[in-house]
Each structure stands twice: as C-alpha cells, then as structure tokens.
Symmetry: C3
Subunit: 136 residues, 3 copies
C-alpha cells in the first residue's frame, strides 16, 4: 500500500535543522514494516540523516560546507539569482534532496543518534515543500 502526503515546513532560515518530529507529526499511522521516502521539492535545499544531539554539529555543517562550496567562486556563470544561489544548487546535489528510511514496529527505524536534517541552503526564510510517501 502507498500513502502519500505533501507538507510545508515552518520557515526555518539558512542552515541545518533537525526535523524528525516535524515529519513524524505529519505521517499517517505507520505500517508495522515498510519504508518512508522523503522528497524536497526544491533545488536549493536538501535532506539528510545525521547527529540528533549536539547543535554544534549542525553549526559545523553550515560553516564547513560553506567553505567546501563557497559563494563567489570565479567559475560560476549562474550569478543572476544572488551569490547564495549557485552554491545552494551544488549543495542540493552533494547532500541530496531525497532519502528513504525504514519503518519497523510502526516507527521510523533510525539509529539512536540519527535524526532527519532539513538543509536550507539559501538566505531568507522560505516556504519549503516535502512529499512524504509511505509504502508497506
């Protein structure tokens, strides 16, 4: 069986945000076993699994990935939409815009320290949509 819902996240601002409970709250009753697929419907935001405890991890993601994929790189030709735009597209493909998570005993089956990060790569607080698909 496939169940699907499209949701809009709260406007979170640039950075890496723990959204596991935002997503769990929007899910239908979960099957005993199955999988949850999450798509970010944007090309300048991402989704990934990472550490759910220490907020400095999310801060270090922002600082380090900004160095790895900087604004103002002289190779960029796509610059009309702002300095933050082309790096945001690159980050969206390096981090990824979709993940799948197993469901076991009617709950998301993540590791103890794993959470779902929503990654806002652009400046400003934007309205961002996700498609959640549960299959069982």
């Amino acid at each position: 069986m496939i169940q699907q819902v499209e949701i809009t996240l709260p406007r979170l601002g640039r950075g890496y945000h723990l959204v596991t409970s935002n997503i769990e709250r929007e899910l239908p009753d979960l099957p005993e076993k199955g999988l949850l697929h999450i798509l970010v419907k944007h090309t300048s935001a991402g989704i990934t699994l990472n550490e759910n405890a220490d907020p400095t991890v999310r801060g270090d993601f922002e600082s380090f990935i900004n160095k790895m994929i900087p604004e103002n790189d002289p190779v960029y030709e796509h610059t009309l939409e702002g300095l933050d735009d082309m790096p945001a597209h690159l980050k969206a493909s390096v981090i990824g815009a979709e993940i799948t998570v197993p469901i076991t005993n009617s709950r998301l089956n993540l590791g103890t320290w794993q959470g779902i990060y929503f990654c806002e790569f652009r400046n400003g607080k934007r309205s961002r949509k996700l498609v959640l698909t549960v299959y069982s």
Copy 2:
C-alpha cells in the same frame, strides 16, 4: 506491483544533462501513486535532481565539481585508466548513482524547477545503462 525496465541513454558526453523526458518516455503507464527508482549501472556516472531551466547551472556543476574533485591530485594511486577515471569514481559517490522520485496522479511529482540530471564524469561519449523500477 513492481514494473522494471532497463534502458540505454543516448551517448551524451562529459557533463550534466537534463534527462527527465528521456526517462519519462521509457516508463510504463504510471500508477496513480507510487515511487520510481533509478539506478545508474556504472561507477563513473551519477544521477541527481537539480535545476531544470538555466543551462549555466549545468555548466557551473561541471566547472565547480572539477575543482572540488580535481584530476591529477597527487594522492591518487588508481591512475592507469586515465586522469579522468579516479575523479569520476569519487564524483559518482559524492553525487550518487541512484535516486527515488515520488509518483502522484500518474506523473513524476517533482518541484516546478526540478529535473533529473544524468552526470557523465568521464571523457568521451559512452553507452550508459539505467534500471528503472516503478513500484505501487
């Protein structure tokens, strides 16, 4: 239900190519709701979701990722297959070789600006195979 088809892309050459319609054309009739999984059966090519409008975005991917993962890095020991080979393997894992996309109302449910990029990381025009799996 699972439907599966293996396809060969046109020989596209090095770079990032928008292949959404190449893929849609090869799909069976889509279910009302479901998911499409796409695997690239190669270790020097990738697949990702990104901006479907301005071609300079795809050009900037090629230029920037070539700087981030350069040819000729002195750490490489795997050099016998050409200067473009080891960077291509690294890019295949950083960008990824498989994605899943939701299907809603019998169509791929991507954001307005999202398209599917096939990423050819090696020089030359190579024959590249994808496995498409639709589940519903």
Copy 3:
C-alpha cells in the same frame, strides 16, 4: 511484500570496504523483481556504490576524501569526541547513509563493476548495524 532484517557487520576499521557479499549472505530469498534498501544506523559511517575490482580505488577514496573533508579544520566547534568525529559526520552526509538497489531475476541488479561500499569514517574497529529492507 516487505521483508526486513537488521545485521551487524564485522568490525572493519577506518576506510572503504566492499561488502556486497556480506550483505547478500544475510538477505532472505529474493523476489524475482523488487528493491533492496540499506540503512546504516550510524552518523559517522556511510554506504555507497562504487568500483568492485581494484583496491587502490578504495584507498584513493580514503586519501582524497580526507583531504576534501579534513580533520582539524579551524571552523569546527564540535571537537570533544575526537578529531575524527566531525569530519566523520560531514562525510556521512556527503557520501550518504542509505541506498536502494534494484532486484531482478532474484539477484541484486548492479552493473558489472559496481559493488556496495561500507564506509567507516571513524578510527577504530566499531560494531556497525545495517537495516536491510526487501520490497516486492
């Protein structure tokens, strides 16, 4: 149908390890057509598809990714768990902690040169758990 099993890998040590046969050995009888999803239940390890033949490729992954995402970067604030910890979290999201692979004719349908890499980003030989989900 969904079949699910949680497995523990042998303690492999830091680096990139070909684990295709470790995983195949733990799978239930595979359906004729379907998909296998693999989740790494940790935030400092990853899983990816890459070259299954020349071990220098795996060595070059270790050397190059260590340069791309170094220890001791001055931006890191999350340093209490060791120099290898924050880079390990970053690598887990750049490489990814979950993949999906198609099943065709009751076997994993990978390219000739593709294998599954388990990526241990931390020092030491750690016990690492995967969730394997087969759906058909």
